[in-house]
């Protein structure tokens, strides 16, 4: 079986992780979770993974129980430590990588978990809330944005509300001007494509198309003009080992193989 787009997305994420990185894994983001786990059992055995209240190292895991629920209590079997939730924030100086989702994502990598509408007192749709994304994405060294819904509903020119600041209204100095310590969003990852941000304008830019999506289709999937570079290399294909480990030890239940 060929690698699915979600599998490729997870493999892309895995390859971005450096051995020794301190990574915080939020809940309900199975593709980023798969990427981090794959990195841990391949080239990043020293990656330090925080799963809500637990510090874990999964280098020795035979297989992971359920990607659909990363904050599974059974994670405790690999726990080196238990921590109060404040620790997430109090130890943020050392955090290298986090993941943000959003009900809206705009062209400058701002995300919205607050709600949709003009009037905050009369929203069309109230989101679940910012969780810790505002403070964590402001501070942690870098972050990736992930969503399963690559459509103009999610990819909007401007978020109705911003729960986690990306590059604001654009510009390489948009974070430093506000004094935000973190280096900001690095990639936006979906089952259709992988995007980064233009170095100067910080507008979202296509990096890799994932299988099953054409450039035309992708351009129609966002409510704003996505930058497309002259050269659009394909993502380096997964090795047999990456795919095999992903399927047997990280995602045995096949969450990423469902379409």
């Amino acid at each position: 079986m060929q690698a699915t787009a979600k599998e490729l997305a997870a493999i892309f994420i895995a390859r971005q992780i450096n051995n020794g990185d301190y990574i915080s894994l939020g809940t309900n983001l199975p593709v980023p979770a798969a990427g981090v786990l794959l990195a841990q059992i391949t080239h990043a055995p020293d990656a330090k993974i925080n799963v809500l209240s637990y510090f874990v190292n999964l280098a020795g895991m035979d297989s992971f129980p359920d990607l659909g629920q990363i904050a599974n209590p059974s994670v405790v079997r690999w726990a080196d430590g238990v921590m109060p939730v404040e620790q997430l924030i109090y130890g943020i100086r050392r955090m290298d990588l986090c993941f943000a989702g959003g009900i809206q994502i705009d062209r400058y990598g701002n995300t919205n978990l607050i709600g949709i509408g003009d009037d905050p007192q009369n929203l069309k749709f109230r989101g679940p809330g910012s969780v810790g994304t505002a403070t964590v994405m402001a501070n942690c060294r870098k972050f990736f944005i992930y969503t399963n819904d690559h459509s103009p509903r999610t990819f909007v020119p401007k978020c109705d509300f911003i729960s986690a600041f990306g590059w604001g209204d654009g510009g390489a100095d948009s974070r430093t001007r506000l004094g935000l310590p973190g280096e900001g969003p690095r990639f936006v990852i979906t089952p259709k494509a992988i995007m980064d941000f233009d170095e100067t304008s910080k507008a979202m830019r296509l990096k890799h198309l994932l299988p099953g999506t054409s450039l035309e289709e992708l351009q129609a999937s966002a409510g704003f003009e996505l930058l497309v570079p002259d050269q659009l290399p394909e993502m380096e294909p997964p090795s047999a080992e990456e795919l095999s480990l992903l399927r047997t030890r990280v995602d045995a239940k096949g969450y990423l193989r469902q379409t």
Partner: protein, 297 residues
Amino acid sequence: MSRHKVVISLPEAAAMIKDGDRVGIGGFVTTNKPLGILREIMRLRRQDLTVVAPPSSMEVDLLLGLGMVRKLITPYLGAEAIAPLGPFHSGWAGKHFAIEETDLGTLVAGLRAYALALPFMPTRGIVGTSIASLNPTLRPVEDPFGGPPLIAVPPLEMDVVLIHASQADCYGNVQHLGAVFLDPLLAQAGKKVIVQVEKIVSSEEIRRNPGNTTLACEFVDAVVLAPYGAHPMASQNYYRVDADFLNEYVRVAKACVKGQPEQFEEFVARYIDAPAGLSEYLERVGLERLFALGEGA
């Protein structure tokens, strides 16, 4: 003179929460929620509450649906993959209750400011976000060392804090035996702190491992025995979340928001209003169902 025991009954605990109170609720998303005490308050339909909660779930959505909440302060309401959104939270926000916008870092800053008796804590975490403009309690604050301005978070006050934990002694020394979430911070910041526990143990058992104590009696005003008291949420070391129960709740609550309140009213009558206490509630849920939530079951 001998030491005073702080163990009280669930109705006594509920009597400590008044209309108009600011109520803190411990635990995290679907784990360690003080539903034993909360159901008592729901039965009494306390009014005009301000709810302060770390990432919360259907227990708060139910308070919203019962019309008990004037203002909600929580960074998250949902049940992750089981149910990403609370029906009343998503549908009624701004209409039937107000939201004081926050995130985890802002919540921690406000609670810490109160515990430290400080008029504010600065944060950089929400600079540039809508939280800074949507929440009217926040103010900009200059950096006296010349950097860009920050946001000042005022003390977050709570009249009563409700917590669920594994065990306590009768003097109020509490052990979670697992993750503590934000419970210690909530306890430090609460004017009154009530902890419901799966089990009351001897003082000797607590002192065998004082390092396991997560809330010393300095920060606990009352303890309530509440076995299975977190149901339908999970209780660390005891039982998992009852996903079917949550799904049933989400179904009837969604219908209610859409203007069909009948099934929601039945649900409330059956699980909140009719049972005379925790035991009757648990009998209605059914022991077989409860046992099936245990580890390995």
